[in-house]
Amino acid sequence: MSTVQHATRSSHVGVALIAVVLVVLAAAPAWGDRNTLRLLAEMLTFVALASLWNLLAGYAGLVSVGQQAFVGFGGYLLFALAMLAGVHPILAIFIAGPAAALVAVPLAVLIFRLRGAYFAIGTWVVAEVFRLLASQISVLGGGSGISLPAAVIISIAPTRQMREFEIYWLALGLAVAVLGAMVALLRSRHGLALTAIRDNELAAQSNGIDVGRLKLIVYVLVAAGTAMTGALIFLMKLRISPDTAFSVNDWTAFVIFIVVVGGIGRIEGPIIGTIIFFVMRQTLADLGSLYLLIMGAVAIIVMLWAPKGLWGLVADRFGWQALPLQRRLVLELEKKP
């Protein structure tokens, strides 16, 4: 019987490495100080955001410059549930996912009427609408925003250290869950369909793939994941405002930079990209707006001369994959008597 083989030698190495890294990261509260934990948690949320954007743009071909809509939605929902309905903040994170999915469906129906770059700007308009609506909600601080009350913060865990550990592990768990879900999706038959859509949408359609439905599902799932990540991000920040919640710079520009430089359309790309982004941030941050300028320039240069990103360059050159995602048909030929 013929089988499909996913793993390669490099992916065996990759999986082993990832397992080691995960163990080290899980133990971080033991070896890392407060600042390290905060930094790692922030990096992990960006890995999640970037992987989700990568799934949307790099696999489903839906380029969105408006994912900040869901980041802010998740954040505001967390604050609303925790402050106004007495919901435990961590539970609120898990509610944010399905809630965002519900909102994403009618939105998708609307903006899927636009194509290509016009779709992208449409997602931006949606984010703007969310931002404007948020600034109208006076009970959550209106235009200037609001801070999470002490009572809510304490309800997460009794000591500050425990809170930091819990939030850190949440971030780790979220990033692992997002990546794990992506690997599972890509190894499934839907993942094969997605790769087909990415390569040639028309051909995929004529092969019976319901392109519209698959794109809708991906859009909704990504919205849910993004909202949960957004809820966690603002739980970490302890303060929310319309401009920070729906910031194009923070939640779209940086994410796009990460995915483009790391490698779009590859699951390893956002991980590499996040590392590069944070290295750049640590070294360049005091340059102010020049730093953003440099990032924009780097993204353009990479897009034009290394469109597959750093991982794409390396992986294509050496034929690597860090996770077992490729498909190789192994034929068993019958022996002739």
């Binding site: 380029v63 770059a117 353009i300």
Partner: protein
Amino acid sequence: MTLWLNIILQGVLIGGLYAMFAAGLSLIFGVMRLVNIAHGDLIVFAAYIALIVTTGTGLDPLTSLIIVVPVMALIGYALQRGLLNRTLGDDLLPPLLVTFGLSIIIQNGLLELFTADSRKLQAGAIEVQTFEVAQGIWIGALPLIQFAVAVAVIAGLQWLFYRTALGRAFRATSDDPSVAQLMGLDTRHVFAMAMALSLAVVAIAGVFLAVRANFDPSIGPARLIFGFEAVIIGGLGSLWGTLIGGVILGVSQAIGAQIDPGWQLLAGHIAFLAILAFRPQGFFPKVSH
């Protein structure tokens, strides 16, 4: 009653400005299927160029157009030829991401050079001049001029596209770039001319923006969104449609602002989303998306 008429009139007139934001965007999409995410930031960039020209030469803003328009046109030609031509092709990601990167670069470059301080260009007495056109109905001189210029720009673009050799070249290259080459057209040059034209319109829009209201490096994206909404409401591929689209957007915003100042922008977006929901092809569609 006259209050609402005045409000609607204001909305119509600012619609002209939005139509100018949209015209440059629409032109580029028509000729080379490129959506320039940096379009709004280029409008702001033009405003700053006008600032430099007016403070440097003492010219008033509207006269400074004589310098600003050619400068922006040249920048457009160089930008297309040097950078954006490389992004054209079947893949939609490169032009989108490169122009997005460009948007970030322009915003932050302007921030570095000019700081986040709000600026405005002074056009003199004409800014406060108003006419009473009917009982209790007033029109500002500047908004009226701006609307008239918008109509003239769109009429001019229509004329160029349908009655000149350059317009023929644009349409042919947009239809079939490789057969256009068989006619002796260098498509790299044609695309660059289209971008030069687009930025010439952007220059006019930028100067009017700068005279009308305060501007700073961060307001670009909102102008892009207004232009984009005007294009979609009016219908892809129709220049006169973008005028209608701009007017509808302007009127929606004016009505929204009257209900509650915080609702101005929201009203515009809701009008856009409503059109998208009920008449996604816009009012005067010429091409499919």
